[in-house]
């Protein structure tokens, strides 16, 4: 594999582009947050403390009017709550620590984003390469099916599927907790299985389209013909020549898809179609009715999403500029 | 007439500043072109011949830049017009095209000189009709000539401007400035032998064959009735029978209008068919120049000799070819030293070639000159470098 060259152009572009550096830093930060969440978290993100509900982030004060019984009489008093370092990003209406929830939310987002992309890519690329390589009726059939798939907006289809199948989740034991390195943290990380499968299902078509387009053009390259004239089997041609030479645009697409899927996951959690409550989207929906009083509950997880997705998009731009693939959907294609 | 120099290029250097380093595409190039002649520049890929052509029209874009030299163009009216504002650009009847501002230069494009490009298929905007694109060129010329050739008028009068075309930008098929320019486009298409030009004028580039498109490009280049036509590999993308048609058209037009043609190609046959005088380019320099007879029949530079020896003869049964060894050199600055660039492929290279490249003899357009020590003194085998001299520094 000539990955040396790929690596070299990636490095050259990285050196040139401050935005690429920013992207990598952001992504690294989010990854570290997600992986080491049990160490970084100050409180168990699921632990509720109703006495400390709706506290503002550190540095902010919150003034609310409350009716209390003072000396046996109902009085309206003005309560001023000051944010404390104990809950640096404040708490929600259940008194859960927003900061710790943010860290664990990163785990959910990245898990769904990476796993969903991987499944979608695996399925889409296999189908796309085969269709593009053989062309003809196989290809025709696949593309017509893709048309039908694309006729459902991803989010709508995802809502329908999850709503009807019911959100199912899998508990993955947290290795740090299992090893006894930290205590008082959730013992498992919840992988929202239905959500992951559904986002993969609604997004594999993109991979299939790109892979197919690449395979269509690569199979016409003379080096493929030359190998065929040497007697190479279809399997060999696909694995040895077509797939490796289709990879760069697929790689760029996969990066962008991680961002798309993270956004999709957050939207699903926001609408309540999720298998876990430790999710940025879910937290945003929780804060929605408290906007007038506790703005931070919705704001903080939203910022986390934006930062993560910006990071991924910057990395995507970096790959695109460095590897210069010609991706359908950015420069060609159509629904024909 | 033929004694008049119309274009005088001296010491032209064009460089590209890439991330891999500096590429000296054209290096201290000097040449003179006479009015009404067909001057050919022949060279292999990477010799810098196309960059030379683009330098003449100032179409070099970042990361490239013309780093030195002058391109003097003889036009008394123009000289008169720009003398006041840009005295440093004017030398008698000559105007240095590199010393005038972009908008004045633009007003010369299409009218004073125009260009034919190599690949006709990618040289037309795919979403506009061929006729409209030719009519644009007509319109540019019409606006320019409706005013006297004064700089101010010319720059301001490039009034084929955005405003008059706001609608055309969005709405296809209604782009002509006037029916006059469309009529002229039809006339031009007719002139270059496009059958049924009245219908063809409204067709899109993809509806044309390659040969027809190249003819349409000739028509477009002629729209401004230019004094100098720069043709960059005008027939390379074409089949031989179509190439013959296009060359025929170019020859007829040249005879008819007496315009000057600078023909750039790698094809020695095309040079032989078209040109009065020839310059042979290698690694950014003109290594030999002279009349067609001088260069083809009495080549002095070993590169010219090698080039002529490399082509299989169509009219005689083949013996063994005498190719030039090695590959065309990279023009990266780091790899160029102060020596003859051809030395490492040259079968007659000598010690002195490695120390300092030969210079041209004193200027003079009629001369047959070569940038080689062998131009002055005959070759002696005893001076040659040992055969394996360059073996070690082998590319890549």
């Amino acid at each position: 594999m000539n990955w040396q060259r790929v690596w070299r152009s990636l490095r050259a572009e990285f050196g040139r582009s401050p935005m690429a550096k920013l992207g990598v830093v952001l992504i690294l930060a989010v990854f570290l947050m997600a992986i080491f969440a049990p160490f970084l978290a100050t409180t168990n993100p699921k632990a509720q403390d109703l006495s400390r509900a709706n506290e503002p982030p550190v540095g902010f004060t919150d003034t609310t009017e409350d009716t209390r019984l003072v000396d046996g009489e109902r009085q309206t008093v003005t309560v001023t709550t000051r944010g404390t370092l104990e809950y640096p990003l404040g708490t929600n209406q259940l008194g859960q620590d927003m900061y710790s929830r943010l860290l664990y939310g990163a785990r959910t987002s990245l898990l769904v984003g990476l796993l969903g992309t991987a499944i979608a890519a695996l399925a889409g690329v296999s189908v796309g390469i085969v269709a593009g390589y053989y062309g003809g009726r196989v290809d025709d059939g696949l593309m017509r099916f893709a048309d039908v798939m694309l006729a459902f907006p991803a989010l709508v289809l995802a809502i329908a599927l999850i709503g009807l199948l019911g959100p199912r989740a899998v508990d993955i034991p947290d290795p740090f907790v299992a090893a006894g390195l930290v205590s008082d943290m959730p013992e498992t990380t919840v992988l929202p299985l239905t959500v992951t499968l559904v986002v993969a299902l609604v997004n594999w078509v993109w991979f299939a389209r790109v892979a197919r387009g690449e395979a269509l053009s690569v199979r016409e390259k003379n080096y493929v013909k030359a190998s065929r004239s040497l007697g190479a089997s279809d399997r060999r041609l696909m694995l040895k020549h077509v797939l490796p030479n289709s990879l760069t645009p697929i790689l760029v697409l996969a990066t962008v898809q991680v961002a798309v899927i993270i956004l999709l996951e957050s939207a699903l959690s926001f609408l309540g179609f999720s298998g876990t409550t430790l999710s940025w989207g879910f937290d945003i929906s929780q804060g929605r009715d408290l906007l007038a009083t506790s703005w931070w509950i919705s704001t903080m997880p939203g910022l986390a999403i934006v930062v993560t997705v910006i990071g991924i998009n910057l990395v995507g731009d970096w790959l695109r500029d460095a590897l210069d693939p010609d991706i359908e959907g950015e420069s060609g294609g159509g629904m024909g | 007439m033929s004694d008049d120099v119309i274009l005088r290029v001296s010491d032209l250097s064009t460089r590209f500043f890439t991330t891999d380093g500096q590429i000296n595409a054209v290096e201290s190039l000097s040449l003179e072109i006479e009015e009404g002649e067909v001057f050919g520049i022949v060279g292999e890929s990477g010799s810098g011949k196309s960059v030379t052509a683009r330098s003449l029209i100032r179409l070099i874009e970042s990361p490239g830049r013309i780093t030195s030299g002058t391109i003097d163009y003889r036009d008394e009216e123009l000289a008169e017009a720009v003398r006041e504002d840009y005295p440093e650009a004017v030398d008698g009847a000559f105007v240095d095209l590199l010393a005038i501002p972009e908008d004045v230069h633009r007003s010369l494009r299409g009218t004073a000189f125009s260009m034919i490009f190599q690949d006709p298929e990618s040289s037309f905007n795919p979403s506009l009709t061929v006729g409209e694109q030719i009519a644009e060129a007509v319109e540019v010329q019409r606006r320019a000539s409706s005013n006297p050739r004064s700089t101010r008028a010319r720059t301001r009068s490039s009034a084929y401007s955005l405003r008059s075309y706001a609608a055309a930008a969005v709405l296809p098929g209604r782009g002509y400035v006037s029916s006059d320019s469309k009529d002229r486009a039809i006339e031009l298409l007719q002139q270059v032998g496009i059958p049924d030009p009245e219908q063809r004028v409204d067709e899109y580039p993809h509806e044309y064959s390659g040969g027809m498109l190249q003819r349409a490009m000739v028509a477009q280049a002629l729209a401004g009735e230019p004094d100098v036509l720069v043709a960059d590999e005008p027939t390379t993308a074409l089949d031989v029978t179509i190439q013959a048609q296009v060359l025929d058209i170019l020859r007829d037009l040249q005879e008819e209008t007496g315009m000057t043609i600078l023909l750039i190609t790698h094809n020695l046959g095309v040079i032989a068919r078209m040109c009065d005088r020839v310059g042979v380019m290698y690694a950014g320099e003109i290594v030999e120049r002279g009349s067609l007879g001088d260069v083809f029949d009495r080549p002095t530079h070993p590169y010219t000799q090698g080039l002529l020896g490399s082509i299989p003869d169509l009219d005689a049964a083949g013996g063994r070819l005498q190719p030039i060894g090695g590959n065309v050199p990279s023009l990266l600055d780091a790899e160029m030293g102060d020596r003859c660039y051809f030395a490492d492929r040259c079968p007659k290279a000598m010690e002195e070639c490695l120390e300092k490249p030969a210079e041209y003899p004193a200027e003079g357009t009629d001369d047959h000159a070569a940038r080689c020590y062998l131009a002055d003194h005959p070759y002696e085998a005893s001076q040659a470098l040992p055969e394996d001299y360059f073996e070690e520094s082998e590319p890549p």
Binding site: S227, L230 | I271, P396
Partner: protein, 453 residues
């Protein structure tokens, strides 16, 4: 694994099939008969459902020739004539539409299993564009070794050793094994392509424009290399090229292709010194020679473009451009005039005449509603104008009258009738009869082999 293997292949395989016909030869390694390759457009599911008709692009339309053992056959033609498709189809890199190819007597299109693998070993191809013929992600050593890997020849070390030998044999260095194609120039890549083809010691190489992407100085190196390799390994070449000087330089025999068909086959001397097909003549005439006398050489370029292979002309496919198109026997007409009338006829048949514009130029009133409404005088003026614009020659009286009659029909916008009128008078044998490629010096032209009517 040596040259001996190559020479052991069963020699003197008797040529079968239609071996007796004009293009056959006694010691044929490759026998191509009626090879046809059509591509189909509008072939998708939608087209089926919507009942769109298949459009056949007749890339190769029934060509027959032999390549004799040890010779170099040139296949020459302009772009789009189907020569590369022919090369790829006869190697079964494309599925043929019809026809047979025998390789050493074996029917190539019926082979499978070990026999097909054997064929794949014996017949190889070198491509035109050295930039797309090497996988950019594979080292050149691996590229060359791939054939050996596929056929499981030798141990890994033996294979690598063989690759290094090959690299040196084609003028590269053994150290280049680990390099990637991007580090090489066009000429060097082409050497890699040749080494790859030679790795499995084939008998037969299809060289598809092997030098057209290269500079002349490098082209000469490659041509010399190919000649040396042929001598050393006893190779048989099918050289596909548009460059006549390359063809002349290294071929023994030449087949000329036009629009999917062969028009002339001859040994190289005969073809270049005494070409018989008008297309071959025109082709030879068109090439500019690199010599000082070139300026004065009289060239009469072939007019027009190659017609579309979707709808090729009837009869002789070259007739729409042929300067020697044959007039009807009983017609007395100058050849130039006849050619001119035939051009006019094509335009009438294709309806490629803008009547409105011509009417306007004749100063006639624009059409009122749907039709022209000319009186007698106006109609004459229109015909006059049509003749002036559409014909470059003055016709003698009799022909002028016939043509004017047809142009008159045009004035009434009776396209079909106008075409009929012209056809009735001027129909050529070239459009009615397909010329056969026959004779000792096979030429597909009615001038050479007059058809029996």
């Amino acid at each position: 694994m040596s040259i001996d293997d190559l020479e052991r292949t069963d020699e003197a395989a008797p040529s079968r099939g239609t071996g007796a016909d004009a293009v056959g030869s006694d010691d044929a390694l490759v026998e191509v008969r009626d090879l046809t390759k059509h591509y189909f457009e509008q072939d998708s599911l939608w087209d089926r459902l919507l009942g769109n008709e298949l459009v056949a692009v007749r890339a190769v339309d029934g060509i027959s020739f032999d390549v004799a053992r040890g010779e170099t056959l040139g296949l020459v033609g302009e772009s789009g004539c189907g020569k590369s498709t022919a090369g790829e189809t006869l190697l079964r890199l494309e599925e043929p539409t019809a026809g047979t190819v025998r390789f050493g007597g074996d029917p190539v299109f019926d082979l499978d299993g070990p026999a097909l693998r054997e064929f794949r070993r014996n017949a190889q191809i070198v491509f035109q564009d050295p930039f797309t013929s090497l996988d950019p992600r594979v080292t050149i050593g691996e590229t060359i070794r791939e054939a050996l890997d596929i056929h499981g020849i030798g141990t890994r070390e033996e294979r690598n050793e063989r690759v290094r030998d090959l690299l040196e044999r084609v003028g590269l260095a053994a150290e280049h094994f680990e390099r990637y194609p991007s580090e090489f120039s066009g000429g060097q890549r082409q050497r890699v392509g040749i080494a790859r083809a030679l790795a499995v010691e084939p008998d037969f190489l299809v060289l598809d424009e092997p030098t057209s992407a290269l500079d002349v100085s490098v082209q000469a190196q490659i041509l010399n290399l190919l000649a040396d390799l042929q001598d050393d390994f006893g190779l048989t070449y099918l050289l596909i090229s548009h460059d006549l000087s390359v063809i002349r330089h290294i071929c023994d025999r030449v087949a000329v292709m036009y629009l999917g068909e062969l028009v002339e086959v001859a040994d190289v001397e005969t073809l270049f010194e005494a070409p018989e097909h008008p297309y071959t003549e025109a082709l030879l005439e068109s090439v500019p020679r690199a010599e000082t006398a070139e300026r004065e050489r009289d060239v009469d370029p072939l007019a027009g473009d190659v017609p579309s292979p979707r709808d090729p002309p009837s009869g002789c496919r070259f007739r729409t451009r042929c300067p020697k198109v044959i007039p009807p026997d009983d017609l007395e007409i100058d050849q130039t005039d006849y050619r001119e009338i035939m051009f006019l006829r094509d335009r009438v048949e294709e309806r490629e005449i803008s009547l409105d514009v011509i009417a306007e130029e004749a100063g006639l009133p624009a059409r009122d509603g749907g039709e022209f409404a000319f009186d007698e005088r106006q109609r004459d003026r229109f015909v006059e104008q049509l003749r002036a614009q559409l014909l470059d020659v003055d016709l003698p009286g009799r022909h002028e009258r016939t043509v004017d009659e047809a142009l008159g029909l045009l004035a009434d916008e009776e396209w079909a009738e106008a075409a009929d009128a012209l056809r009735a008078e001027y129909e050529s044998v070239c459009e009615r009869r397909v010329p056969e490629l026959a004779g000792d010096h096979p030429v597909a032209c009615h001038l050479k082999n007059p058809p029996e009517e």
